[in-house]
């Protein structure tokens, strides 16, 4: 047998750690949410806010301050300049919030100022993106819809698969759809609608006793909130690629949670533990090697992407890095304690039907 990170007889009391885990998670989430409130919501990139971004590469280092001074003459509204990618790339990102100036005009102004003021430095406009305010608003709505549908479909899938209660799952889908339609009709803005959708989903899972789905959904909301919070704390922009990263995190976090849940269910049938808490602990310990190995290999490649992938993909890789870490943590310390809190539903009470259902 090859190497072993986790000894087979390891028995760590993860469930006993739940209070501390709860405090850690609460602090992380509150920090993130606090940062969002203080900053007046997420900092949207041009995909969502509209505006123009110009990426310029110089053939030698030009300090950001100098670039700012040079571009003062352009009188572009909301102008920000930041260095981009690695320091030795000599790249800067110019951003302006305008929608009144055409991209051709911006290109010309930037070209002129750099040509006039940086006589011995060669430069190249590598990328220019302009998003109008209308398209930005549309993309924002689309992104929120995407997150909403992801949560909904996944909740249905888990309820159906784990509790064999497709009917209850369908009921939840109907309830969620109805609730959102009413709120949409009442004129709730889309940004709040996603929160409403999440709260309704959690509420319905609770009410319908879809306990596995509840644990998984709370864990993934936890992961998304923390990732979004850390991004807000770091002052990073939210754009389409971050939404892609969030959806991937949702997929990854669930992947992890499901492996643990799957083992819990198996161990309930096999009566592995003395009580439910013990069963969950045994299950987490049994899957621990796998959890660490998979998260390890995924983190290895995401770190490679983060370090070597270049500026354009940098924030995307950062979101994945946070998400994979938090997702691994939440499957053990969030999803499982919640499942313990609400119980494994019918499966525990009525073992006769369980035996029949599993055969």
């Amino acid at each position: 047998m090859g190497l072993q990170i986790i000894k087979p007889d390891t028995h760590i009391d993860f469930i006993g750690f739940k209070r501390k885990a709860f405090i850690i998670s609460a602090i992380l989430i509150l920090l993130g949410l606090g940062s969002l409130v203080v900053k007046g919501g997420p900092k949207y990139g041009i995909d969502f806010a509209g505006g123009i971004v110009v990426q310029v590469k110089f053939d030698k280092l030009v300090p950001v301050k100098e670039v700012k001074n040079i571009l003062k003459g352009t009188e572009l509204p909301g102008l920000t300049v930041q260095s981009f990618g690695h320091l030795d790339d000599n790249e800067i990102l110019i951003r302006t919030s305008t929608s009144k100036v055409t991209s051709a005009d911006i290109r010309a102004r930037v070209n002129k100022e750099f040509t006039d003021n940086l006589k011995d430095t060669k430069f190249e406009i590598q990328r220019l993106e302009m998003v109008g305010p209308k398209v930005g608003a549309d993309l924002r709505t689309k992104a929120i819809e995407a997150l909403y549908f992801a949560v909904l479909l996944i909740a249905i899938y888990i309820s159906g698969r784990f509790e064999k209660r497709w009917f209850a799952a369908a009921l939840m889908a109907g309830g969620l759809f109805g609730g959102i339609s009413i709120l949409e009709f009442a004129g709730l803005p889309t940004s709040l609608l996603i929160f409403a959708a999440l709260i309704i989903t959690v509420g319905l899972c609770w009410y319908l006793k879809l306990n596995y789905a509840l644990g998984a959904i709370v864990a993934l909301i936890h992961d998304v909130l923390i990732t979004v919070g850390i991004f807000s704390l770091l002052g990073k922009d939210f754009d389409l690629t971050i939404i892609a990263a969030l959806l991937t995190i949702i997929g990854y976090s669930l992947n992890d949670t499901i492996i643990v849940f799957d083992r819990i269910r198996e161990n309930i049938f096999g009566k592995a533990g003395e009580d439910f808490a013990d069963t969950i602990n045994i299950s987490i310990n049994q899957t621990l090697s796998r959890t660490i190995l998979t998260s390890g290999t995924t983190l290895l490649v995401v770190i490679a992407l983060f370090v070597l992938g270049g500026g354009v993909i940098h924030d995307f890789a950062l979101a994945l890095l946070i998400g994979v870490g938090v997702g691994t943590y939440s499957s053990i310390f969030v999803a499982s304690p919640i499942l313990l809190g609400v119980g494994a539903g019918k499966l525990e009470d009525d073992e006769e039907t369980v035996g029949a259902g599993a055969a």
């Binding site: 047998m1 090859g2 190497l3 087979p8 055409t102 991209s103 051709a104 290109r107 590598q126 990328r127 220019l128 993106e129 302009m130 998003v131 109008g132 209308k134 398209v135 993309l139 689309k142 992104a143 995407a146 549908f149 992801a150 479909l153 996944i154 888990i158 389409l240 690629t241 939404i243 892609a244 959806l247 991937t248 949702i250 997929g251 990854y252 669930l254 992947n255 499901i258 492996i259 799957d262 198996e266 049994q286 090697s289 796998r290 190995l293 998979t294 390890g296 290999t297 290895l300 490649v301 995401v302 490679a304 992407l305 370090v307 070597l308 992938g309 270049g310 354009v312 993909i313 994945l320």
Partner: protein, 533 residues
């Protein structure tokens, strides 16, 4: 070797062969070799963020299209009614939605109503109000079917015109498609000069010939005071240094001839090597042009494109033969672009650029290089790790991981999917996650071995218990990826595609192919021989 194993090996070999066959054409070294003839034609197409190029979203101004149509319909009502002896005055568009017109005699109301029902079934009478002087104010509105029809027609025409222009401009593999909300999405890969392309695509190219009012007082006109039936606009002159100045000029409002009668437009050079554009009218246009030039000799005629005067030559004589030229002051590129837009026809409505993303070719190449470096480094780390941790089983996992990457790339080529920068990230992420299925199986086999099962039995048990778990775990990721595809655009879709492909291929390789390798490994050995895992 039993029968089941034999067909599983055969299937795997076929898949591997297909994968390699579809992957090879995308490798630069193979593309130009003799081998290329025997391989499929499908190559991995690179997204704009990797190839460099322009992505545009245009909004078609449907209000303006409606306005134009209503103006024309109002005039038609006036003309057709007059043929029947009904006098309709001053049709004009109100609120951009309706036509207001005045019927001179209220006794003719019945007649006008039946004329509208019979000859203008795309219009309906909204209201009529009789004035004390016996005139009747009519308000017409287009029917909702007509609005829908007009929207579709305008969009189709706009797309056709834009495609025409881009084709003449000579961009390889342009992608132009209609989107919701009266939008058109255009992708031009490899385009080097974005502003020129945007200029050509975005120009309405509404060409008009109008007479110049040389008697008008320019000073007054600059302040906005012009006589009725006149309008002020600008004429541009190129200075010797290549820059332009615009000077005011007063024109008669009425257009004598418009661009719709143009058959062809070409760039030519005069004896001073200055570019100009020649126009060829169709027969009807030629007749009109001959008449108007004959009637207006010694007057100046302005050639107006999208409201700007390009040149205003004096008519020397009646011009027959249907040829005209737009001299003026422009660069060769400009003259060529002008010829293209005139040839391709005018847009049925103005367009605005709602979204524009331009990536230079050097950045694209840089992104590819960095992405590949990250992928190679990430893969090597994972490969080494698996080999060290699981020894023989790790080797099995490594073999299928390489196969997995081949299959993802082959899948991209075979399905004609586009590889984008986030797509590369998707492949890298999949490499990390692909071993997950193997890890689940291997850990399970280890557990079974610890329970005292023989290698063969542990393998059987491990696979059967792990398979459903793997399916469950991966289906949720596929759900997320499908939603990404549905809601995402461009590069995001590329990510969704590679992620989905990666999950599917990794399930095939991790569950199906590794099993074959294990079965081969154990088939020749004693039942109780230890397993290197």
């Amino acid at each position: 070797m039993n029968g089941s194993l034999r067909w599983r090996i055969a299937l795997t070999l076929i898949v591997v062969a297909l994968g390699v066959a579809y992957l090879l054409p995308s490798l630069p070294a193979v593309q130009n070799s003799a081998m290329a003839r025997f391989l499929p034609n499908d190559k991995i197409s690179l997204g704009l963020d990797l190839k460099g190029g322009i992505h545009l979203t245009l909004g078609v101004d449907m209000d303006k299209a409606m306005d134009n149509t209503l103006v024309r319909l109002g005039d038609d009502v006036k003309v057709v009614a007059r043929e029947k002896g009904i006098i309709v005055l001053k049709p004009k568009v109100i609120n951009g939605q309706q036509i207001e017109a005045v019927l001179l005699k209220k006794e003719q109301q019945e007649e006008l109503n039946s004329l509208i029902t019979k000859d203008f079934n795309n219009l309906s009478v909204v209201s009529t109000s009789v004035k004390p002087d016996g005139k009747v104010t009519y308000i017409f509105a287009p029917t909702s079917e007509f609005k829908k029809y007009l929207t579709k027609l305008t969009m189709d025409q706009a797309i056709k015109t834009i495609r025409n222009r881009i084709d003449q401009f000579g961009v390889a593999e342009p992608d132009i498609r209609k989107q919701q909300g009266n939008r058109i999405q255009i992708q031009l890969p490899g385009m080097q000069d974005p502003e020129r392309a945007i200029n050509i695509i975005g120009k309405t190219a509404h060409l008009e010939f109008k007479l110049v009012d040389d008697l008008a007082d320019l000073e007054k006109a600059k302040k906005g005071i012009v006589a009725p039936g006149r309008e002020i606009t600008v004429i541009r002159h190129m200075l010797p240094d290549g820059s332009y100045v615009e000077k005011p000029i007063v024109l008669r409002k009425e257009a004598l001839l418009t661009g719709e009668f143009i058959n062809d437009a070409q760039t030519r050079f005069d004896q001073f090597n200055q570019p100009y554009v020649t126009l060829n009218f169709n027969s009807r246009g030629a007749r009109i042009f001959e008449r108007i030039t004959g009637e207006n000799v010694k007057k100046r005629m302005a050639i107006v494109l999208d409201g700007k005067v390009y040149s205003a030559p004096t008519i020397q004589d009646r011009i027959s033969g249907g040829k005209a030229s737009i001299t003026g002051s422009y660069s060769t590129d400009e003259a060529q672009d002008l010829a293209i837009v005139l040839r391709a026809g005018s847009l049925p409505a103005p367009v605005t650029i709602l979204e524009q993303r331009t990536v230079g070719p050097s950045l694209g190449q840089e992104s590819i290089d960095k992405g590949i470096t990250a992928a190679v480094v990430g893969s090597i780390l994972v490969l080494v790790f698996m080999l060290v941790y699981y020894s023989f089983a790790g080797l099995v996992a490594d073999i299928v991981l390489v196969l997995n990457v081949i299959l993802i790339l082959a899948g991209l080529a075979a399905f004609g999917a586009t590889l984008t920068l986030p797509g590369i990230a998707g492949i890298i992420l999949t490499i990390g996650m692909a071993v997950d299925a193997n890890v689940i199986i291997f850990e399970r086999i280890r557990e079974e071995l610890r329970r005292g099962l023989t290698a063969k039995a542990a393998i059987v048990e491990g696979y059967s218990r792990a398979t459903l778990t793997i399916l469950d775990a991966n289906i949720t990721t596929v759900i997320a990826a499908v939603i990404l595809y549905q809601f995402g655009t461009g590069p995001i879709r590329g990510f969704a595609v590679t992620l989905t492909l990666g999950i599917l291929t990794s399930m095939f390789t991790a569950i199906f192919v590794t099993r074959i390798l294990f079965d081969l490994y154990t088939s020749k050995r004693a039942a109780d021989a230890p397993l290197s895992i």
